[in-house]
Subunit: 440 residues, 2 copies
Amino acid sequence: MNKHLDALIEFLRIPSVSANPDHKEDVARAARWLEAKLSALGFQVEVVATPGHPIVYAERIVDPQAPTVLIYGHYDVQPPDPLELWHTPPFEPTLREGKLYARGASDDKGQIYAHIAAVEDLGPDLGVNVKFVIEGEEEISSAHLEPFVRSNAERLGADVLLISDGAMYAPGVPSLEYGLRGLVYMEVRLEGANRDLHSGVYGGAAPNPIHAAAWMIAKLKGEDGRILVPGFYDAVRELTEEERASLASLNFDAAAFASSIGAEALPGEPGWGALERTWVRPTLDVNGIWGGYQGEGSKTVIPAKAGFKFSMRLVPDQDPEAIQKAVTEYLQRIKPEGYRMEILYHGTGKPVVTELDSPYMRKAAQALEAAWGRKPVFTRSGGSIPIVANFQELLGIPVVLLGMGLNDDNLHSPNEKFDLVNYEKGIEASRNFLRLMSAP
Amino acid sequence: MNKHLDALIEFLRIPSVSANPDHKEDVARAARWLEAKLSALGFQVEVVATPGHPIVYAERIVDPQAPTVLIYGHYDVQPPDPLELWHTPPFEPTLREGKLYARGASDDKGQIYAHIAAVEDLGPDLGVNVKFVIEGEEEISSAHLEPFVRSNAERLGADVLLISDGAMYAPGVPSLEYGLRGLVYMEVRLEGANRDLHSGVYGGAAPNPIHAAAWMIAKLKGEDGRILVPGFYDAVRELTEEERASLASLNFDAAAFASSIGAEALPGEPGWGALERTWVRPTLDVNGIWGGYQGEGSKTVIPAKAGFKFSMRLVPDQDPEAIQKAVTEYLQRIKPEGYRMEILYHGTGKPVVTELDSPYMRKAAQALEAAWGRKPVFTRSGGSIPIVANFQELLGIPVVLLGMGLNDDNLHSPNEKFDLVNYEKGIEASRNFLRLMSAP
């Protein structure tokens, strides 16, 4: 175990922030680190260059007739900002009370490395072929993975795709996800005058793009939590009775959930509980906004420019392309007069629901039960792994989503962490699954 | 003239940005620079320490029986951001095509220095006592000037207060302002969860303070430009027939105004033209907004915090304290449930209308006519010099507002400038005014 912890710490020290061009070389270094690690385990490794960050593809074929497991993960991480809120630096992994703190610890370096560790533990005489696809652009919408999968569909051929990039339902409760939300990520940039203006001299006549942004955001999602883009909810699939029962059986505790994030309320779409709103209902959130003076004190300025980034989480059967088009048209319609608007597109991903009763799901459930001593629960996730839909479409194989993280892992926020027990059990579950796959 | 230009350039090199604590020593340096300059001209100078930036007070009493002119100005400047839009560095004054480019060139170092230059030109045998109050906190709401004026009312005694911190109606058109808008500047900080959250895992249930900010801003000012705070317009004084006639006589060209700022439209309060909306109607503008991810690309985050700064320009007889109270109550009412709110207060200033037909206004008109070869127009300004109301109240003397700048001087935005012809005519008009004041 110490060996696997040391390796993960080394991996986490590389600040492979894919969103920030200043970290381009660090991202490349993380790819080379994986290449060295997997080569040492007897894999054929290729670091595939893309117009963005490289994809690490590795395979170890022990017997062309043996079953093959394809494992997907990503080695890029979210930006660590705001830095001042980290208790220890994001790229100096630190152990505290059984948890490893570092950007990427849970999302997704810890989870992908758990499978590499399992492969290492089992040795080469496994009787299962293993393939890894580990990308460097998951946090920036995986733009170059889909073309790679498309043009390498045969090479990636496998019996099952195993992905660990999610969370367990609760601490100590092994979980298998069977649904993921899709994603549309867009950005609106607004311009009024051609320069910043004195708010006294011009106030009352000059266009103010901050107000335009606020009016538009208020028209994207109402204060009651309902998304106001026409047709947005049209394609949302109704829940089956089974799904309703499965959701109810989890006895979700909304008050504990609110308290776990320090929130006084859990606002959202009327008529649905917080669990439904994060798992089975679509949503829209502004992820960033800017304009004018942000420093200390006051500045009497009407800014020339303002903008905001926002994303929608989609559920079956919403089509990301159709939603993106509808939102674009709606933005053009609600943009107030007197403002120049630019719309940027930061990627889309399809929502996914996987088969609940495939033989692979059963093996995964068995592997988890053996590791944790209790049966797993079946969950959906509010998050998106857009590439899952692509894999399903292009490779036509079943997907097993075996999340090892926890919801309080602080993904995408300061003090991200990974519980060591989850790392250990994750490695054990992965070993169990690979062994079960090799059984006749 | 060269001597006065060199001196102003030296003054402008000092980055006396009052809003930024990093520039505290530079602000102090600008005060000492004025102290040295005025001492050399035979003034008794005191650099008065305050809890913020110092006030420079200077007086030269040639004869206790002679008329006294009190001149007010400020030596602090706006922050220069965004730096990348300056064609030449903000604190390296540069001459191009008859204009001097630098932060503070027009607002207010050029205008206050024009009076110092006039005093220097006229020499000590003027027959008029001159007093200067030059503060270092005008751009951050003049918090410490009012107590200074209050406790030094006798020492500041004068026949007239002369202020140059505004703009002429148009190039070549000398102007006397008789009205200024008041100001209330506030800030709202909102918090939802206690940390940034993954927008997939939590989207649909987590509070998002950016949306809360947008909803609140949309409720402060509607898309039709009307301010929605209850009672906001109640105390607004109707225009007199004379004022309407005077406004109409200026033949304001809204299309040229829009084109001068590169705006496609001049949105604002319904029922009023752009000139009225900037001069005689109150307004509200968000001056800055922030929250979430502002970098390149995308980050799927729901931020814990967001906020915005906003200011209102007031007209007679709106009372800043009453407006601030009404807005505070309104904010508490419109804040959506589930968010913690903090309200910050960045200062207030009363609106002012000065006497149009005082003997001092007549002398000022004469002084301007002699310098420019044409009669001045009487204007109002959308801007605020909050301290004018305090001076009026505490000293009980008439105020003359003799603006030397132009509306395209880029106050508070990149590439601020001061036309040399305005500097030269400003010095000449100041000399004329002081001479007229000394005449029996």
